[in-house]
């Protein structure tokens, strides 16, 4: 029975929320529904982590847990297949955190709150669905479900040049999915040596390992670029600054926090996992590209003046780091990549939430026009500093553990070329410090620039709740990285087989 599987509820709950939202009549009911939905997801995600650890503790070392499999479309052998490994579990937890934070960050959504939350939860459905599927077809389906609401969320509720941004973002990501589709279909037709037994199931494909090497050279770049667009890989990253700048707060949070992780996760789950040969042969090309992302994004962020642009370029840099580490294909580096996904998800969501809250008060995002916020809104400013410190890799916060895993792991690569690239990547810690401190210095410290800002108020209870949730996540990762490393440990067995 499908409903005895815990995973399906990650899709069922958002859909139920959608249904209930249709029935709501006023803002109060809308809020009640979304808060219940988001809390349920959060509880479910925590419970999933708990039971996952319990199963692992009981000695269940199989690749995927909580498996479920049902035939969906017989002629093409498409299944509705569910299953999670450690990496998906932590990413589901991350998504639940950010959905929870996002709901409170958009407490006073205006106009059309009901419709906003409808799309918001549709997007969440796609995100959770993507992480729990192990069938390429459902994966791609949920991927598209997550992308489309973005267009409306930015186009309707965005700010600034929103039409352009929404169009650009959607078109670029759709362009990515075109590559992806090609790759997925290609993989499907080579999924098995027996042409009558083709499958979309990732685990089976990995087991069969039947994709010819010549095809891998073609399919790996297709899938990697397809997902890489969403992971903001240079030179396909330009949707990110415009899209994030125009998007409303909660959407920026969800998009930078979770949706960009879909890219990293997809690169890992489909491109690298299924085509290890090409991943090893071709990784130098993509390492150079992602290495450029890391440094280039950080350098660009140094001269931006719009808060959201700074953070968007910083996301380019940090997400570049995720892909960079994945491609290094060492155990520690991949662990670091997963930690970086978590860390970046939380801190960038926190950043966007705070920027949204500040923007909601000052009505400007230009750092040249603001200053001395520490005096006016101390709570928000302290949160901002914490987010900044997490971003520049302060020990005790999440960024540090992720970056150190990545650097140490990448540097263990036996090849000199990879080590030199790692050193290039490490320079980002200095550049990150430059733009973070520049932003903190201009925005929070110094004298108040505009007299009108003096009357502004500090955070409300829902804003505090939203930011606190994320800070708790950041600090937990920073202090207890071993806990997360423990969860994802068993899922990296394939990496060992890849290196050397």
């Amino acid at each position: 029975m499908i409903f005895s599987n815990i995973l399906i509820y990650f899709v069922v709950i958002p859909i139920l929320v959608l249904g209930c939202l249709f029935a709501t009549k006023n803002i109060k009911q809308v809020r009640t529904v979304v808060v219940i939905g988001a809390s349920a997801l959060m509880v479910l995600a925590l419970y999933l982590v708990y039971s996952f650890l319990q199963q692992r503790g009981a000695g269940n070392a199989s690749e995927m847990l909580f498996r479920y499999d049902a035939v969906w479309f017989k002629p093409l052998n498409i299944h509705f297949a569910l299953g999670v490994d450690g990496i998906s579990v932590v990413l589901i937890l991350l998504s639940a955190f950010i959905v929870f934070g996002g709901v409170f960050a958009s407490w006073r959504m205006d106009p059309l709150p009901k419709e906003f939350f409808l799309w918001f939860f549709l997007l969440s459905t796609g995100v959770f669905g993507f992480f729990i599927s192990i069938d390429m077809f459902t994966m791609v389906m949920f991927y598209e479900v997550a992308l489309i609401p973005m267009y409306l969320l930015i186009g309707v509720w965005g700010s600034g040049n929103k039409r352009y941004a929404a169009m650009k973002l959607t078109l670029m990501l759709m362009g990515g999915s075109a590559f992806l589709m090609l790759g997925v279909i290609g993989i499907y037709f080579h999924s098995s040596a027996d042409p009558n037994n083709l499958t979309m199931n990732i685990l089976t494909i990995a087991q069969n390992n039947a994709i010819p090497h010549s095809w891998q050279y073609f399919l790996f770049p297709m899938t990697f670029v397809g997902f890489g667009v969403l992971g903001a890989m240079f030179p396909f990253h330009t949707w990110s600054p415009d899209g994030h700048a125009a998007a409303p707060t909660a959407v920026s949070m969800l998009h930078a926090g979770v949706l960009m992780k879909l890219g990293g996760y997809g690169c890992f789950r489909i491109a690298i996992f299924l085509m290890p040969f090409a991943a090893q042969q071709l990784n130098w090309i993509f390492l150079i590209l992602t290495g450029i992302s890391v440094v280039y994004g950080a350098l660009s962020a140094c001269v931006q003046t719009d808060l959201k642009y700074i953070n968007a370029y910083s996301s380019v840099s940090h997400c570049g780091m995720v892909l960079f580490a994945l491609l290094m294909l060492t155990n520690t580096a991949v662990t670091g990549a997963v930690l970086q996904m978590l860390s970046h998800g939380l801190m960038t969501a926190l950043f966007f939430a705070l920027i949204g809250m500040i923007y909601g008060r000052t009505h400007t995002r230009d750092i040249r026009k603001m200053g001395g916020m520490m005096n006016i809104m101390p709570y928000l400013s302290v949160c901002f500093v914490i987010a900044g410190l997490a971003s520049l890799g302060l020990p005790g916060l999440s960024g540090f553990v992720a970056e150190m895993n990545i650097f140490v792991g990448s540097f263990m690569h036996p090849d000199l070329f990879h080590r030199i690239l790692t050193i290039v990547g490490t320079t980002s810690i200095v550049i990150t410090a430059v733009y973070i401190l520049r932003m903190v210095g201009k925005l929070l410290l110094g004298q108040v620039q505009d007299k009108h800002h003096l009357t502004l108020t500090d955070a409300n209870w829902y804003e505090r709740l939203s930011t606190l949730t994320l800070i708790v996540g950041i600090v937990t990762i920073g202090f207890f990285p071993s806990f997360f490393v423990e969860i994802i440990k068993n899922s990296l067995s394939f990496v060992k087989a890849l290196v050397m």
Partner: protein
């Protein structure tokens, strides 16, 4: 005391930081201050107990065969990279870490107490104490680190607490800029440290200090013959790690942040930028000293940079007019002494005297330099200015401060029996042993030290007698003077400790050291010449100094402007990196990459636009096209049939 409890010195400040950080705002200012001071007092007590147990106890394996052991008294695995590369949070007790425990907790406790008076009435008093606790935690964690990665972690924490404390007066743009500069410059150096750690751990497969330093030969040979750009991999690693240390310890050319860091509250300058954090680089080199010993190239770099910095900073200090800046450059110069001393040390030369001298000077310097800074704080507190021109004749108004400052000046100048004499003498001995060049060089710098310190002293306490008007300078409250008295006594006596018996390179219990009267006599002579010169020029108000400055305009201005190092960096960061790297990248992103994407969109758009005519919606034209098409088709068919 059971040494396993030493971990409490990390836990207590951490709890204090969390407590004051979370609920401090709701507390009364005084209460928060008292919580901070008490917690620090207990921490200091535990640290002293641990250090004394380590040095004088015998029951926990401290000494075996006449050699002090490195004791790993706490060990917790925090994160595991691979099987061998593990970050542990541990406590490693050995002579230098035990000595550092004493130094840090003493100065920190003094500063905590002093701040009760100095920071009285400041906005954000609670925050100040929270940050002080954070700093103490970080610094103690750094010195007791049992592996290089733990050191790096606390190294970063030290950096951030320094950032937070320099920027304590966050509404002042200068403080914000100084904090940012300090963090970024040291971060840049930390990059070297990090890469150094990566290279070191790649070859040795360990972070652990004991494993690394107990068999340095194996560390060097682990890299095999690996070279990069002509230098061996280990030379790169050790030099890069030294760069990390040079950044924190403000060695030329990474020293530019330290003078600016004086924008922070003065007790903070005393604690962080004089006594503790800035010696972290020296401590790092000392920690890995056995490996450095085998990398002679790196040692030469350390010596040259140290010696040059010592001279450079002393030269600049002779011309500065802001008392905290003088002290800051004097700090740079003194730390460079320690660094040089490490650079010239080796086990072969005089039983490793350079190593011991460096640590000794670190110890005494911490006492007298924090004393000088706290005095400067008391003076600033009563005069409300940092500039020497606003001071003069203060000996009448602030007698305690006068005596304490004089003690500090005598100590730093190396006049017996003050503490600085003993440690500086050892450094000179080590330098002469290596080569007379370094010996004479350092002796000259020592003379300059005496000169600028007494210039400072006379300018503040003698010189002239300005009219202070209604607002007469006054002695500080007891919370401020008590630390001055204690530190003054320490500056007087700390040199009498037979330091070599406790800290030396081989960690032996027996250590032969004595004062080399040849060297000592000449160095005292030079110091006296410096003091005499300062007395002649600055005791009473006179136009001689100004005239001298006028006669050598180029030199004087250059020294006053710190030989234009700041302008140089400003140029590099703003005109090269920002203007010629970042801005073009941003432009490239907006116009080339984005332009390509926009062009794709535009091409699609214009193509659609041009073929749109076929879908005009105008039925008449559809019919027309249909008709022509049908006729054409019919003609073709007919032609084919016929």
């Amino acid at each position: 005391m059971n040494l396993n409890y030493t971990i409490a010195v990390l836990i207590l400040p951490f709890l204090t930081f969390v407590f004051l950080g979370l609920v401090g705002v709701k507390m009364k200012k005084k209460a928060a201050g008292i919580v901070g001071v008490c917690s620090m007092g207990v921490t200091a007590f535990i640290a002293f107990a641990a250090a004394f147990t380590y040095f004088f106890g015998t029951d926990q394996g401290q000494v075996i065969d006449g050699v002090r052991q490195q004791l790993q008294v706490f060990d917790y695995t925090w994160m595991q990279f691979t099987k061998n590369l593990v970050i542990k949070i541990g406590v490693l007790l050995d002579p230098i870490s035990a000595m550092m425990l004493i130094v840090i907790t003493t100065v920190s406790f003094m500063v905590h107490l002093y701040s009760l008076g100095y920071m009285d009435g400041e906005k954000g008093f609670q925050r100040y104490y929270a940050f002080l606790s954070l700093f103490t935690l970080a610094m103690l964690g750094l010195v007791v680190a049992s592996n290089i990665f733990q050191m790096y972690i606390f190294w970063e924490l030290v950096g951030i607490s320094s950032y937070l404390l320099i920027g304590f007066y966050y509404t002042t743009p200068a403080a914000v800029a100084a904090a940012k500069k300090a963090f970024i410059v040291t971060r840049f150096a930390d990059l070297g440290f990090l890469i150094g750690i990566l290279i070191l751990s790649y070859y040795t497969q360990t972070f652990d200090f004991i494993t690394l330093t107990s068999n340095p030969g194996a560390v060097i040979s682990s890299a095999g013959g690996a070279t990069f750009l002509g230098c061996s991999a280990m030379a790169w690693a050790m030099t890069l790690i030294f760069i990390g240390g040079a950044g924190k310890s403000a060695m030329f050319p990474l020293h530019i942040w330290l003078p600016d860091a004086m924008e922070g509250p003065t007790p903070v300058s005393a604690l962080i930028h004089a006594a503790t954090m800035v010696v972290a680089g020296v401590y790092l080199v000392a920690r890995l000293f056995p490996i450095y010993c085998l990398e002679q190239g790196t040692m030469t770099i350390i010596t040259v940079i140290g010696a040059f910095t010592a001279f450079y900073a002393a030269a600049v200090a002779c011309t500065q007019s802001d008392i905290k800046r003088v002290l800051a450059f004097s700090t740079i110069s003194q730390i460079a002494f320690m660094m040089t001393s490490l650079g010239v040390a080796s086990q072969m030369l005089d039983n490793g005297v350079g190593y011991m001298a460096s640590m000794f000077h670190l110890f005494t310097h911490a006492m007298f330099k924090s004393l000088l800074f706290l005095c400067a704080g008391a003076i600033i507190h009563s005069v409300h200015s940092n500039e020497m021109t606003a001071m003069g004749g203060l000996r009448k108004y602030m007698p305690i401060c006068n005596w304490a400052f004089l003690f500090g000046c005598l100590a730093i100048s190396g006049i017996p029996p003050f503490s600085g004499f003993f440690s500086k003498d050892e450094i000179l001995v080590a330098a002469y042993a290596k080569s007379p060049l370094w010996g004479i060089w350092l002796a000259v710098v020592a003379g300059m030290t005496a000169f600028y310190m007494f210039r400072l002293y006379y300018k503040i306490f003698w010189w002239n007698n300005p009219d202070y008007g209604d607002h007469k300078p006054h002695e500080a409250p007891w919370t401020m003077t008590l630390p001055l008295i204690i530190l003054g006594l320490l500056a007087l006596c700390a040199g009498m400790i037979p330091f070599g018996k406790y800290v030396n390179l081989a960690r032996t219990v027996e250590y032969e050291s004595g004062i080399n009267w040849m060297v000592a006599g000449s160095s005292v002579l030079i110091a006296l010449i410096g003091i005499g010169l300062a007395t002649k020029l600055y005791l009473k108000e006179n136009p001689k100094p100004d005239r001298m400055a006028e006669k050598t305009p180029g030199l004087w201005t250059a020294a006053y402007r710190r030989f234009y190092m700041d302008e140089f960096y400003q140029y590099i960061t703003h005109h090269v990196i920002f203007a010629h790297v970042s801005t073009p990248i941003a432009w490239f992103d907006r116009h080339i990459i984005d332009g390509t994407m926009n062009m794709l969109a535009r091409v699609t758009h214009s193509t659609s636009y041009s073929i749109r005519r076929f879908q005009s919606g105008n039925i008449q034209s559809y019919v027309w096209i249909y008709l022509i098409g049908a006729l054409a088709l019919a003609t073709i068919v007919m032609l084919c049939v016929i």
